[in-house]
């Protein structure tokens, strides 16, 4: 079945969905001595056209693993990822190629994600030739120029001739976005797209992604550790800890009324120019626990000020705490 033949979903319907997805990695090579890391535990997410979902959490919480699973880099250990109702794991051949075009990734490091030996023209031409073989040479060139203009790199003809090292970090990230757009995707997976860029450039990239999301009705996954930009760009935010979703809801509700103790910790740690640092230092940081097959309960319990015995035994189900706002905690 070709994906293009399927009817596009109504605006409110998710285009890409993770249902109760688990992911495991085996650590250590010795037979009988390895540990199974549960990188993701029961993740359910929905990406909707024209909207962005932000995934926030500390390094190692499983954010990038989620994006890679959606891009079908890894197969889920259990659970299902569905694209417009079709289980992604069943896709093969032409349908899989179509899926790969429909779901595009933008990476953190625009220095590493563009081939330094090729011109921008070549970098944009490759996906066009692979995924849109109907285009002739002149059309490919016209399309490349249109893409560059769309991401604000003008005069486009000038940029086509350049190589990545001749561009600034922000310009490179714009090229990476143009490359992702070249195959007319419906889903953008942006993994920390601004964290390596300068502050003034950051906002420009976020605004560009915002415009593209609206104009092209793209469904976006925005991975970040910066909860303020999550709130700025994404309508919805999901907070991850040790491979679990601990809180999810409208971005504004998450930052204004965080309910999970981990979300509260994260938000309290964000630099706030309205405060002045006072008092004695308290240690809040801790390593994220290695979540294995034997691990039980809530992964945040060892760090949590509210933890009780039940937290060390059972991970609670999501509780509705507001309009479309859920949190997984025994002590809400």
């Amino acid at each position: 079945m070709s994906l293009a033949a399927m009817t596009p979903p109504a605006a409110s319907e998710p285009v890409l969905e993770m249902r109760d997805v688990d992911m495991r990695f085996v650590l250590g090579g010795l037979v009988g001595k390895h540990t199974t890391l549960r990188a993701l535990s029961g993740i359910s997410l929905k990406l909707t056209p024209g909207r962005a979902l932000a995934l926030v959490g500390e390094s190692g919480s499983g954010k990038s693993t989620c994006a890679r699973m959606l891009a079908r880099v890894y197969e889920p250990a259990s659970g299902e990822i569905s694209f417009r109702g079709t289980d992604v794991a069943t896709l093969t051949g032409k349908a899989l190629t179509d899926y790969r075009a429909q779901v595009q990734m933008i990476f953190q490091d625009p220095f590493g994600s563009l081939n330094p030996t090729q011109t921008i023209g070549y970098i944009l031409e490759r996906p066009l030739r692979l995924h849109r073989p109907g285009l002739n040479g002149a059309e490919v060139r016209a399309e490349s120029e249109a893409l560059l203009a769309q991401v604000g790199l003008v005069p486009a003809a000038e940029f086509l001739k350049r190589r990545p090292h001749e561009l600034s970090g922000g310009q490179r990230q714009r090229v990476a976005i143009a490359r992702a757009l070249s195959v007319n995707p419906t889903v953008l997976l942006a993994d920390e797209p601004t964290s390596m860029l300068d502050v003034s450039v950051r906002l420009g990239i976020l605004n560009l992604l915002e415009d593209l999301k609206r104009e092209k009705n793209l469904a976006a996954l925005y991975i970040t550790h910066d909860i303020a930009t999550a709130r700025y760009f994404a309508e919805e935010t999901a907070v991850m800890y040790a491979g679990h979703l601990v809180e999810q809801g409208p971005s504004q509700a998450i930052t204004d009324q965080p309910r999970h103790p981990y979300t509260q910790l994260l938000i309290a740690a964000v630099p706030n120019p309205k405060n002045k640092i006072t008092g004695a230092a308290v240690r809040r940081a801790a390593d994220i626990p290695l979540w294995t097959a034997e691990s039980r309960g809530c992964p945040f319990a060892p760090r949590c000020p509210r933890a009780t015995d039940i937290c060390r035994e059972i991970m609670p189900d999501p509780t509705l705490v507001g309009d479309g706002h859920t949190a997984r905690c025994h002590h809400l």
Binding site: E58, S59, S168, G170, D198, V199, S200, V201, R202, L203, G204, L206, N207, E210, H225, D226, I227, A228, T229, R231, Y232, S251, Q252, T255, D256, L265, L266, I267, A268, A269, V270, P271, N272, P273, K274, N275, K276, I277, G279, A280, A281, V282, R283, R284, A285, D287
Partner: protein, 322 residues
């Protein structure tokens, strides 16, 4: 805080010398750092913040060249220090914490040895027992168990490695610690812990800090005063709180508008259009004028000078403020 400055920077100029060209990375800047004060340098990448920090520690190396001005440390001219005086100046009077703790520590030497090395280099008569005791004390200060002294850098997390770098910077009780993006590579919760730790140590030992970060929110929270740099020049110096509440220079205002807030309504921010000028093709007049939404004809002809701004008790360089 006494009135006599710890560090005085006067008309400091730093050039980068190319084969047939010279780029002026820092163009005649003036500021003071007072005893016990945290002074921040803010600005976009390439504005010269780190170049200033390196010049203060006399770490500028070719193709960089301090080509003019003066740096005075407690009244002494740092730029004319002899090799012997410079040796005492570096680390025991002014120490450095760099952004990348991974690269600042030697991966094949135990951290205890690295701390002891720094002490022994400046206190050659110290005994092994003394240096070891000091290393343990420093570990305690930054909140790491001294049991881990004999571990190697890779056995520590990123945040702990940065704590070890801070411990090393404290080893000889310097008067000034230069911190160049000390928490940029770290998670937000770790960053919060470390910045609070630095505050606590600063209150306890009374050292001054020159703080460099691109995170304006963090800088305002941590620093007492902030200097905003643009294309190698200081455009505004003001108390930290005024940078947010009463920014005088259009660039300071634009920088403030580049950070999405964590509260209030969600609305589109425009940030700063365009990018900073190349040092080899600087605009006439005010260097910010091509990107400034408020520029008037004089801005493109004449470079403004820093003038006192009564509203903040600081200084700003803008024609609109006269």
């Amino acid at each position: 805080m006494s009135d006599a400055p710890l560090i005085e920077v006067r008309n400091l100029t730093v050039d980068y010398v190319g084969a047939n060209s010279v780029s002026r990375a820092v163009n005649g800047i003036d500021f003071d750092i007072r005893p016990g004060e945290a002074f921040g340098l803010a600005g976009e990448s390439g504005c010269g913040k780190s170049t200033v920090a390196f010049a203060l520690a006399r770490l500028t190396r070719l193709p960089g060249l301090v080509s003019g001005g003066a740096v005075r440390f407690m009244g002494e001219d740092v730029l004319s220090f002899s090799a012997e005086r410079l040796r005492r100046y570096r680390w025991s009077e002014v120490s450095f914490v760099f952004q990348s703790a991974m690269n600042a520590l030697n991966p094949v030497i135990k951290v205890s040895e690295q701390i002891e090395d720094a002490i022994l280099a400046h206190r050659p008569r110290a005994s092994r027992a003394e240096t070891l005791a000091r290393a343990a004390e420093l570990f305690e200060l930054v909140g790491i168990s001294p049991r881990r002294l004999d571990d190697y850098p890779h056995q520590f997390s990123g945040g702990m490695r940065q704590r070890i770098c801070i411990a090393m910077a404290l080893a000889l009780e310097p008067r000034l610690i230069i911190m160049d993006e000390p928490t940029t590579a770290l998670d937000v919760v770790v960053q919060r812990d470390i910045i609070e730790q630095i505050c606590e140590l600063k209150a306890r030992f009374g050292f001054s800090v020159l703080f460099i970060t691109h995170d304006l929110g963090l800088m305002i929270e941590f620093c007492d005063r902030i200097g905003v740099m643009y294309a190698g020049e200081l455009v505004e110096v003001a108390p930290a709180s005024a940078i947010l509440t009463a920014p005088q220079h259009p660039y300071t205002r634009a920088l403030g508008r580049s950070f999405p807030p964590l509260s209030g309504p969600r609305f589109r921010l425009e940030g700063i259009a365009g990018s900073p000028p190349s040092l080899s093709a600087l605009p006439e007049g005010c260097r910010f004028s091509p990107r400034c939404g408020e520029a008037i004809p004089v801005c493109v002809r004449l470079a403004p000078e820093l003038r006192p701004t009564p509203a903040t008790g600081g200084e700003a360089a803008c024609h609109l403020l006269q």
